[in-house]
């Protein structure tokens, strides 16, 4: 059954990479933040497949909750849109 778990892991992590790429290409910082928290959710699913539920609990709360909120706070002190090339 390990092949099946590894396949699911590969799929989930690939989705995570897709969303981190989208987050990097995004010029609207708030949208980039939302994309990056979707990526964190996929990585958390990956941790679940790897049978690490402890990490999932901490990772979801930190990466989707606290990190996003602190980044919003940081963005509120600068500009929302990234300009230039």
């Amino acid at each position: 059954m390990i092949e099946f778990h590894l396949t699911v892991l590969a799929i989930v992590v690939s989705f995570g990479f897709v969303f981190s790429y989208l987050a990097m290409k995004e010029h609207d910082l708030l949208k980039a933040l939302a994309l990056s928290s979707v990526q964190s959710t996929f990585f958390a699913l990956g941790f679940y497949v790897l049978a690490a539920p402890d990490i999932v609990l901490a990772y979801l709360a930190i990466a989707v909750g606290a990190y996003t909120a602190l980044m919003i706070l940081a963005i509120s002190k600068t500009e929302r849109f990234e300009v230039g090339k």
């Binding site: 099946f4 699911v8 609990l57 901490a58 979801l60 606290a66």
Partner: protein
Amino acid sequence: MGARRDVVVALLLLMAMAVLSYSAVASGFASGSLRPLGAEYLERAASTPEVVTAIVWNYRGFDTLFETFVFFLAIAGTLSVLRLSSRQEREVRRNEEREPHRKMDEIVRVITKLVVVAIVAVSASIAIHGQLTPGGGFQAGSAMAVASLLLFVVFSKFVLERSGLTLRHTLTAYAAGLAVILVTVFLPVLMGGHLLQIDLLPGESGLLSLDVGEYTAVTFGFLSVFLVLGISEWIFKGVLREEVK
């Protein structure tokens, strides 16, 4: 361009959910049997049926303890950089009362209330069940920090402060959590054992009090930092300018 990308993202999400739900139904992620390494740790551990907790607190207790200290240093650093004397605190409060009171939409507020109740219940169960199921103090505390953040964003920090969660109170609760952890760490020494030898304490009480202490410490540690960071920038700048003069 934008619409097409939305469609792609939605399709990707749907596919992922389909694969995951299929896999959850078809195989079940958890395997039924315990691996020999886990069995070995459980045999030697003090009074916990959960392998990860057995390793975290019985074999790598100092690891977790020092993580708590690192977190303490981070919060102490934040609070000392953004410190306010009691006179400045009064001035901040006076300025904050003059700020316009903004309200979020009714729908958002009602949903947040429901979600916050759910998060509080889940995080308490993660903390209090920490010795039996995956999770523990830090995980529960960070989940609880998300609840306080939601309240913070949707209702503003004044709602928290009016309900008694001022910086002074949250710091006191943080210190109480740390005190519970320290007492649990040093109690075995008084009973003739080593530091952190929590199997000397009766039953699961050692693990439970470590989890609850860590839960309190992380929850209120995060909340104190948010309360300080939540002061409006122009107010803070005004106070600092005053200090320079």
